[in-house]
C-alpha cells in the first residue's frame, strides 16, 4: 500500500479494497520503523492521523469526499498547524505550538487528507541538503550516506521511502525541485502567488512559494488543485481561477515547442546527468514536441542575485524572532538588549545567522545601491530573459541539479559550494515562474543507483502545461515508479 500513488489510493478507497484507517495504520507502522533512521519527521501526529482517517472513512461511506479524502500526507514543518508543534527546523521555534492552520494545511484538510506528521527541513528553509536543521540531518533513502537535498528534505525522504503518499514543501530557491530530483520524486513549484503563503513561516517573501512533492505528475495535479487559489489573508496571492489541472493531463505533446537551456548544460553539470536529461528530451521529441536551443544570457548571475535578495528579505523577516511573543527566550536576561542578543544567538543556527548578517550588510546605508538595488536590477534582466524565451517556446527544459545526491558533510564547510547546488533552480524563483522536477533516470555510484531530475520551467500560470508534459513523459517511462532498495 505504501507504493501507491494518490490516484491509486483514491481508487482503492472508492472500490473499498482498503479503508483510510488501514492505509494510515500501515504508514504509521512504516514511520515507526523507518523514520528514526532517516530522521524524516520532527513530529509524528499518530493520534490525529487515526482520527482524520476515521473521519475520512465516514465521509466516504456517506458517498461524500473527493479524490484526496482519506489520503495520508505530511506537511513540511514550515506550515503552521493548529495545536501542533511547528519548529521550522529551528531551535528558535522548538517550543512553538502554532495557534492556527496555514491556508495550505486548512485546504488539504478540508479536502479530507490525513495528517501523518511534520517533516524535517533545513532551518528556516535555508539550505540545500537538510544539514542545517537543528533536529539533525535527513538521510536519503537511496543512500543513507547521502543528503536528500533541501530544504524540503524530510518531505522528500518521507514520500520516497513510502512513509507518506505525498507531502507539502516550499521552494524559495529550489527547495522542492532539488530534493525531488535527488530522491526520485515529482516536485512542483507553482507560480509565485498561485498558492497562499498565509501561515507559511516566511524566509524571502518575494520568492517563497508552496508546492508539492509527489510520486507522479498526476498526483501533483490533484494536490495542487486542492492547495491553490486566492486567499485574502496573503496580500501577494493572485486572484485568478484555479484550472482543472487533472483534466488537462491527457493533452498530447504534438505542437509543443521546447527550449533547451544552453546555460544549464555548463561545465558544472555531471555528464551522466546531462546524458539522462538529453535522453528525456529525445523522448519528448518522439512524442511530438519540437526542440530548439534557447539562451538566457543573464542566467549565470542568478545565484549571486539570489544571495543578495534572499538574505536581505530574510534579515527583515527574521527580526520578528525576539523572544517576546513566541520562540526561544534565553535564561535570566540582564536587560532587554541582552535578551534579544542571547535569545537570537542561541535560537538561530550558523547558516541562518550568516544569511541575516549578509542581508543586513547588503541593506545597510552606503551598500544598498551597490548590492541590493543592483541585484533587483539584475533580477529584472533575468526575468526579461525568460520572458523573451517564452515568446519563442512554450517551456524551457534542463537538468534540475548539477549532480545526483552528494554525501553528508561534503559541502558544509564552504557555503558558496552549497549555494551553487541551486544554480539551475533559482532562476524560476527570481522570475516567479512555475517549474517542475521529474525523475529521468539513475546514475551509478559504487553499489548504489542515485536518481536524477529533469526540470521544466513554464511561463506564469503555466502549471497546466508543465504537469501535462510531465504526465505524458511518465506515461512513456517508469523511472518515477522505482522505489529505493529496502523500502519497496
Amino acid at each position: 500500500m505504501h507504493t501507491l500513488t494518490v490516484g491509486e489510493i483514491a481508487a482503492g478507497l472508492a472500490a473499498r479494497r482498503f479503508s483510510s484507517l488501514e492505509i494510515t495504520r500501515h504508514l504509521l507502522a512504516r514511520i515507526e520503523r523507518f523514520a528514526p533512521g532517516l530522521n524524516a519527521f520532527v513530529t509524528v501526529t499518530a493520534e490525529r492521523a487515526l482520527a482524520d482517517a476515521r473521519e475520512a472513512d465516514a465521509r466516504l461511506a456517506r458517498g461524500e469526499g473527493g479524490p484526496l479524502t482519506g489520503v495520508p500526507i505530511a506537511h513540511k514543518d514550515i506550515f503552521c498547524t493548529d495545536g501542533i508543534l511547528t519548529t521550522c527546523g529551528s531551535r528558535m521555534l522548538g517550543n512553538f505550538v502554532a495557534p492556527y492552520d496555514a491556508t495550505v494545511v486548512e485546504r488539504w484538510r478540508s479536502a479530507g487528507t490525513v495528517l501523518l506528521g511534520k517533516t524535517n527541513m533545513d532551518e528556516f528553509a535555508m539550505g540545500s541538503s537538510n544539514e542545517t536543521s537543528f533536529y539533525g540531518p535527513v538521510r536519503n533513502p537511496w543512500d543513507p550516506a547521502r543528503v536528500p537535498g533541501g530544504s524540503s528534505g524530510g518531505s522528500a525522504a518521507a514520500v520516497t521511502a513510502g512513509l507518506a503518499a505525498a507531502a507539502s514543501g516550499t521552494d524559495t530557491g529550489g527547495s522542492i525541485r532539488q530534493p525531488a530530483a535527488l530522491t526520485n520524486l515529482t516536485g512542483l513549484k507553482p507560480t509565485y502567488g498561485r498558492v497562499s503563503r498565509y501561515g507559511m513561516i516566511a524566509f524571502a517573501s518575494s520568492l517563497d512559494q508552496a508546492g508539492v512533492l509527489a510520486r507522479s505528475a498526476e498526483d501533483a495535479a490533484w494536490l495542487l488543485g486542492a492547495m491553490a487559489g486566492f486567499d485574502p489573508r496573503d496580500s501577494t496571492c493572485v486572484d485568478s481561477p484555479v484550472p482543472d489541472y487533472h483534466r488537462a493531463l491527457a493533452t498530447g505533446l504534438e505542437g509543443l515547442r521546447i527550449g533547451v537551456l544552453r546555460e544549464f548544460f555548463d561545465k558544472g553539470l555531471d555528464p551522466r546527468v546531462g546524458e539522462l536529461v538529453r535522453a528525456a528530451i529525445a523522448t519528448l521529441e518522439e512524442q511530438g514536441a519540437s526542440v530548439r536551443e534557447v539562451s538566457l544570457p543573464n542566467l549565470p548571475l542568478s545565484v549571486p542575485t539570489y544571495y543578495v535578495v534572499a538574505p536581505a528579505e530574510c534579515s527583515s523577516n527574521l527580526s520578528r524572532f525576539d523572544g517576546v511573543r513566541f520562540g526561544h527566550r534565553c535564561e535570566n536576561p540582564r536587560d532587554l538588549l541582552d535578551m534579544y542578543e542571547r535569545s537570537r544567538g542561541e535560537g538561530f543556527g550558523d547558516e541562518v545567522k550568516r544569511r541575516i548578517m549578509t542581508g543586513t550588510y547588503v541593506l545597510s546605508a552606503g551598500y544598498y545601491d551597490a548590492y541590493y538595488l543592483k541585484a533587483q536590477k539584475v533580477r529584472q534582466l533575468i526575468a526579461g530573459d525568460f520572458a523573451q524565451a517564452f515568446a519563442a517556446v512554450d517551456v524551457v527544459i534542463g537538468p534540475t541539479t548539477p549532480t545526483a545526491a552528494f554525501e553528508l558533510g561534503a559541502k558544509t564547510s564552504d557555503p558558496i559550494t552549497m549555494y551553487l547546488n541551486d544554480i539551475y533552480t533559482i532562476g524560476a524563483n527570481l522570475a516567479g515562474l512555475p517549474a517542475v522536477s521529474v525523475p529521468c533516470g539513475f546514475v551509478r555510484e559504487g553499489e548504489r543507483d542515485l536518481p536524477a531530475g529533469l526540470q521544466l520551467i513554464g511561463p506564469h500560470f503555466g502549471e497546466v502545461r508543465l504537469l501535462g508534459i510531465a504526465h505524458q513523459y511518465q506515461a512513456q517511462t517508469s523511472w518515477h515508479r522505482r522505489m529505493p532498495p529496502g523500502y519497496e
Binding site: T236, P304, V324, R325, L336, D338, Y371, K377, L433
Partner: protein, 73 residues
C-alpha cells in the same frame, strides 16, 4: 564569531560579480508578477480576541501582557 568572518567575506566577494552586469536604465524588480497592486479591504472588525491562545507561546506573560526585562529606569 571567527567562523563567520571568512565565509561572509567570501559571500560578499561572490555577489560582487553582479557589478559587472550592465543595468543602466533597468527598473529594479521588487516583485515577480508585474501589475500586482496592494489590495484594500473594508475597514471592519474581523478578528476575535484570542490573546490567551496566542500568549501560550510567550516566555513570560502577566495580566494579558507580554513581560520583558525592565526598559525604563
Amino acid at each position: 564569531m571567527p567562523v563567520y568572518v571568512d565565509s561572509l567575506s567570501r559571500i560578499i566577494d561572490f555577489v560582487e560579480q553582479l557589478s559587472a552586469a550592465k543595468t543602466d536604465d533597468v527598473e529594479p524588480m521588487a516583485h515577480p508578477l508585474a501589475g500586482q497592486v496592494q489590495r484594500l479591504r473594508p475597514d471592519e472588525v474581523r478578528e476575535t480576541d484570542q490573546h490567551e491562545k496566542y500568549q501560550r507561546n510567550a516566555a513570560s506573560v502577566a495580566a494579558g501582557l507580554y513581560l520583558v526585562p525592565k526598559v525604563i529606569e
